[in-house]
Symmetry: C2
Amino acid sequence: MEIINIRRSVREYLDKKVEDDKIELILKAAMQAPSACNQQGTRFLVITDKALLEKISERFQSMRFAKNASFAILFLMVKENLIAQVMAPQDASACVENSLIEATNLGIGSCWCGVYPREQRVSDAIELFNIPSDLEPFAIVTYGYPKNSDALKVIDRFDREKVYYNTFDKE
Amino acid sequence: MEIINIRRSVREYLDKKVEDDKIELILKAAMQAPSACNQQGTRFLVITDKALLEKISERFQSMRFAKNASFAILFLMVKENLIAQVMAPQDASACVENSLIEATNLGIGSCWCGVYPREQRVSDAIELFNIPSDLEPFAIVTYGYPKNSDALKVIDRFDREKVYYNTFDKE
């Protein structure tokens, strides 16, 4: 599928705002992701404020480029009372991945920056965004129109040696 | 994005084989997923053997329908020496989600059945497929042509109350 094939991490962005209706399409795609027992326990903090994006750049070594993004989404997990609580990180991951694919479909570059389960990053995010105690930061994803016009292109990651068949009995 | 919107868990399948080239497209899409530090630590056990699919149905309460699938993929995580080992479950989740979207794109139904981190399911999968000690079972996904022709249709999961903006300061 072309869109899945051309998705790549894009860390350099044009100084051009992503339109509100496109942000909403990205959020909708994220929420369409499957979740364990259909628990839908992921929440979304949309960060469009430039000062906050700069604070992400300052606070997180691995997200220096965040200040140049048009916006970011902090994906959050509901911390308690989910039907399948242990599956919450997988649910959130599926939401993130859907958002990346939808962004790619809209010509928008994105970069998935892991937060959970790294304790320092989790506590930094809680402090920076004043996260309430019933939510846990999962990942920050930055989005923006790519600076390089050929940023979204195919890199073939297929590796037949990673595929096995039926059982490992005869390996 | 239409394909993301119509993806749903499909547990009833036609008695019709999914073609090998389509299985390969699904594997390719899975491997195109992003991974932490680009570590690409997910592996794929493709299960087409009917007797094995039946064993999945017998062993896993939540996967009773597996015996009717055309095939399944057991997603596996490399257990040691990854650059960002703690992110391996998130990487595997992104692979799973890509595979679901590609399957949907091909008119194939799928269902993501969580294994990791549930200890009993992990040990059952290790035993059933004779998984080597350097790999850890993550999830089993079943795939097949849907029994119901309208199985792949939009269910709108968008919920504006799950979206927050910038910080929680004023909530």
